[in-house]
């Protein structure tokens, strides 16, 4: 009976144990069983002795170096210095592990990138570039609710899908908010908009069949204060689909 080489034995003992041939051998070989147990004892001892909760130091690796380590593009000239630091710094090792895990995570990898739809010629001329910038800025950063990702696309969505309205304005710092504006949700025949403070207190609510609504003058929005708003579209009877929360602030005078 030939015992497996160290490589498959380590992969079996410390990995996922999925190698059926090694598993069958170990089940009948006392010597390999002893090897597996010893490997696991030392490995568990090391795992238990590690702590990533150390304060960063000036020697800690920056994000670019961490990324270079993960991508395997670190130049040989820096390899020893970086490996030596990593061997001594649990915090940076933890960052390497987390970054590597994110970079090969299908949820993350599959989420990139969103094609930016713009007319290349538009960027070449000032006025058109400004217009494109306004549109992109309007789409801008999407706020999230409930942890569900949603694409911001600049084209009319398919009528067969349930697509949330997109909050367009106001966002960021504004001087006043005479009305709020959003994109149309396919099939929606009514919208309800709500402005609230960041702690959840409702400041104003309104309903309309249009994709914008005027804010009554009686609604007092305080300068320097941030607010969040969103709009919900009724796409079917009693079925509402909401935009993401969007933040704006009344700029101080």
């Amino acid at each position: 009976m030939t015992c497996p080489a160290p490589e498959p034995l380590v992969a079996f003992a410390l990995g996922d144990g999925s190698d059926g041939r090694v598993a069958r051998h170990v089940a009948t070989c006392e010597r390999c069983q002893g090897d597996v147990t010893e490997l696991r004892e030392v490995a568990a001892t090391l795992a238990a002795s590690d702590s990533a909760d150390a304060a960063p130091t000036a020697a800690c690796l920056d994000e670019l170096t961490i990324a270079d380590v993960v991508d395997g593009v670190l130049p040989d000239a820096r390899r020893h210095e970086v490996n030596t630091h990593l061997a001594h710094c649990a915090r940076c090792r933890s960052a390497v592990r987390a970054t590597a895990a994110l970079a090969r995570d299908p949820e993350v990898v599959g989420a990139r990138p969103v094609p930016v739809r713009h007319d290349r010629r538009a960027w070449a001329v000032g006025a058109a570039a400004a217009a494109a910038a306004i549109v992109i800025a309007a789409v801008g950063v999407q706020m999230r609710e409930g942890g569900r990702a949603r694409d911001a696309v600049l084209r009319e969505p398919a009528i067969t899908s349930t697509v949330a309205p997109l909050a367009l304005a106001p966002r960021g710092d504004v001087t006043s908010v005479p009305r709020i504006l959003w994109s149309r949700a396919p099939g929606a025949d009514e919208y309800r908009a709500r402005i609230q403070t960041p702690d959840g207190s409702i400041v104003w609510e309104g309903r309309t069949a249009d994709t914008s609504i005027a804010i009554p003058r009686t609604v007092r929005l305080v300068a320097g204060q941030s607010y969040v708003w969103r709009v919900e579209a009724e796409t079917q009877w009693q079925r509402w689909v909401a935009s993401d929360f969007t933040t704006f602030r009344i700029a101080p005078p």
Binding site: A87, R93, A103
Partner: protein
Amino acid sequence: MAFLTAGDRDAAWDALITHYRRLIFAAIRRTTSDADHVMDVFAAVCETLRADDCRRLRDYAARARPGSKFSTWLCAVVHNRAIDCLREREGRPRPSAAAGRMPPLQRHIYERVFLQQRSHVEAYELLRSDTFPTLAFGSFLAALRDVYRAVGRETPLATPFATRDESIPETLSGLEPHAGPSLDPSVAAEREAVLTEAMASLPVDDRLAVQLYVVEGMPATDVARAVGLSGAKAVYNRVYRALAALRERLQRAGVGAGDL
């Protein structure tokens, strides 16, 4: 990174965020599931990237090497900011709170190792024999590491709660703690020192391969790329040699790995 040379930095910034925001959100949600916290981290990431007229982005553009991926760098930035935000929000994790939030596998490991005072390998075999019949040792190691990190490594090796700590719950899921033999803290410290010294005796690359593969639980191919080895086989080989050397050194010092 052509956007950095664009005249309209604001428009370019919006384009960048539109392009990568799904990746950023997906990466953040791997760190926290709290919807409010996701937004906080997203804001922090944006703030970090925009600071000093997009200094970090310009730095990336200037220093990026051929073959490096912008998305990997972005993941590193997101991870760092997420960790910073978590610390700002919750401070250092308290053992009692950490134990209460553990996922099922970690809670079972906590019970076996910390409350029942089982050895690590014994705890693994017990978990496989009842609750987790298909549990791979690699997954056990990763969860074990997280348990120790969660409780903050306040306690000595192998007899974690030998010294009673009021902040640590006496029971978890109704289990009474086992009144196991206490280990003298000075003996535990000495054993930890032996382990540290044994690790320090390894060549740097071997040591790092062990740390990334065994302790961090990274796949062998990722470890090979990170350490600069030829492939997974080289990682397994180094790990085998290194663990054998560690065990020998520990035994010479009169410490069996099972004692640790």
